[in-house]
């Protein structure tokens, strides 16, 4: 019954993180009474659980996630949306407009192939295909701004504790940033320069996501960029 490593040390798949009975949290598994890591990440020991905070990883859609995706195909009554997950997501007409579906409806009027959308995962169906919705505030087709991609496992870090990181960036740059849990980030600022600052900051966060004291460092970094621009 003991923790085998220091808090926040880096582990790789197969590393023993806990000896004895404990709840195996994210990115860990139990074998023979011990807990092992399944991903490259940082160990996190909490009161009753051992977990590994992944440093790498693809996106696994979960109900409630906000995602940024691309419409890839139109079928009868539904769109297929690429959200960088294991498979395409489905957006049905009922989740796209507030009216009942009629065959006379021209679906391309609402969304066309190639459109970028901000959507919410409302359900996972029997095949674990995510079902999206664009009914709601700030959801729907993206009209302006641009989208960048980062590793989905670093999204929590970009948001920070209670949104501390992202709120700081919003305040300092006055850009509108929408973070999709699938690793796509929509940036919409007043000028191209503002947007570029946000982009470079996000890439810095991605590169240093595993270090401590990041919010403060990013704040300094932001200030240094701003002074340079002046």
């Amino acid at each position: 019954m003991s923790a085998k490593l220091e808090e926040r040390s880096i582990v790789v798949p197969g590393d023993l993180v806990y000896e004895g009975k404990v709840r195996a949290g994210d990115n860990t598994y139990r074998d023979g009474g011990n807990v092992y890591a399944t991903k490259v990440g940082l160990v996190n020991y909490s009161k009753d659980r051992v977990s590994v905070i992944a440093l790498e990883g693809g996106y696994t859609p979960l109900v409630g996630d906000l995602v940024v995706g691309t419409v890839t195909d139109i079928e009868l009554g539904q769109w297929l949306v690429n959200i960088d997950g294991p498979g395409d997501a489905i957006l049905t007409v009922n989740e796209a407009i507030d009216k009942p579906f009629r065959t006379s409806l021209d679906m391309t009027q609402i969304l066309e192939v190639g459109d970028l959308i901000v959507a919410k995962v409302v359900d996972l169906d029997r095949n674990r295909t995510p079902v999206l919705s664009i009914l709601g505030r700030d959801l729907g087709r993206i009209h302006e701004g641009f989208v960048i991609r980062i590793t989905p496992s670093k999204i929590p870090r970009l948001i920070g504790k209670k949104g501390s990181m992202i709120n700081m960036i919003l305040k300092e740059t006055r850009c509108n940033v929408t973070i999709g849990q699938n690793g796509r980030v929509l940036i919409n600022g007043r000028s191209r320069e503002d947007e570029e600052i946000v982009e470079s900051v996000i890439h810095k966060i991605e590169a240093e996501a595993h270090t401590s004291g990041l919010t403060n460092r990013i704040q300094e970094y932001l200030k240094s960029i701003k002074e340079e621009k002046k």
Binding site: E7, R8, I10, V12, P13, G14, L16, R23, A24, G25, D26, N27, Y29, R30, Y36, T38, K39, V40, L42, N44, I53, L55, E56, G57, G58, L62, V63, G64, D65, L66, P86, G87, D88, N127, R128, D138, T151, S153, I155, P156, I159, G160, K161, K162, G163, I166, L170, V177, T178, I179, G180, Q181, E208, A209, H210, T211, S212, G213, L214, T215
Partner: protein
């Protein structure tokens, strides 16, 4: 065999490159070398130079090959035309197809494929320069690339060959020893489970010699395993070094509340995972 070698050391037996019997070639592994792949690794094992790229889990094409209850691991082993002398045809040969298959079988036991129904994980392994033991080096690179892609694994898979050359059991055969030697036994191994996932044999040996070979190869795998782990950690080591030593209150975990227009990474995450965990138990 070669007279020059015998003249050089007429007292003690020596391998062609002067290694000890149980000594591996120098290994260098780097992870995350391909920016467009989900995960990647580059390995130099002696004069072998190999790049492995991992894509996925992603939708499978053609769709009919996907399985409804689990994911599919696809491995492509390919030797570049210039990797060997004389030039080799770039078309996949019978040997390539077989090595792709044995690599897949070697890596599969370490993975949780049941978590990715209807999807595929693709591993592309490209041999840039070959110097004997490419299948082992490829497995080593592929395992690191899979971990670099953030694909959950039970353990890393390490591989190493052992064989018989001039009547002696040696580890990690080079090209010359591979071709002139009496026998070659490539082994892939998961150290945590003490499980062999690949065992092939070529040539003739007695039962005792074969057992000794497997034992030696497993020892070699354990050495490789340490290098693989180091390579994965190295990518993060550098930046962590310059960070403030005392851990701050910063949350690397899910924020409890995200700003309204952003998103919540909600408790549901944990609950779903837990539920799955418990079902498995």
């Amino acid at each position: 065999m070669s007279k020059t070698r015998k003249r050089k050391s007429n007292k003690t037996w020596e391998r062609v490159d002067g290694r000890k019997q149980d000594e591996l070639r120098p290994i260098h592994i780097e992870s995350g070398v391909l920016p467009n792949a989900d995960g990647s690794a580059y390995i130099e094992m002696g004069r072998n130079k190999i790049i492995a790229g991992v894509y996925g889990p992603r939708e499978m094409h053609p769709k009919r090959l996907s399985k409804p209850n689990e994911g599919v691991l696809r491995v492509r082993y390919h030797m570049a035309p210039f990797s060997v002398d004389p030039r080799r045809s770039p078309a996949p040969s019978r040997r390539d197809t077989e090595i792709s298959m044995v690599m897949r079988d070697a890596l599969e036991p370490a993975m949780f494929l049941e978590r990715y129904p209807r999807s595929a994980i693709d591993v592309y392994v490209e041999i840039i320069q070959a110097d004997g033991g490419t299948r082992c080096a490829s497995i080593n690179a592929a395992a690191v690339a899979l971990a670099d892609a953030g694909i959950p694994m039970k353990d890393l898979v390490a591989a190493c060959a052992a064989g018989k050359y001039e009547g002696k059991i040696i580890v990690d055969l080079g090209d010359y020893e591979d071709k002139k030697g009496e026998s070659d036994v490539p082994v892939a191994y998961m150290p945590k489970f003490d499980q062999v996932t690949l065992l092939q044999m070529e040539g003739i040996m007695t039962r005792e010699e074969t057992e000794e070979c497997i034992k030696q190869a497993v020892e070699g795998c354990k050495k490789v395993y340490e290098i693989q782990k180091e390579a994965l950690k190295k990518k993060y080591g550098m930046i962590q070094g310059e960070a403030a030593p005392e851990p701050e209150e910063e949350a690397k975990t899910e924020p409890e509340e995200a700003p309204a227009e952003e998103t919540q990474e909600p408790e549901e995450h944990l609950d779903v995972d837990e539920a799955e965990e418990e079902k498995k138990q």
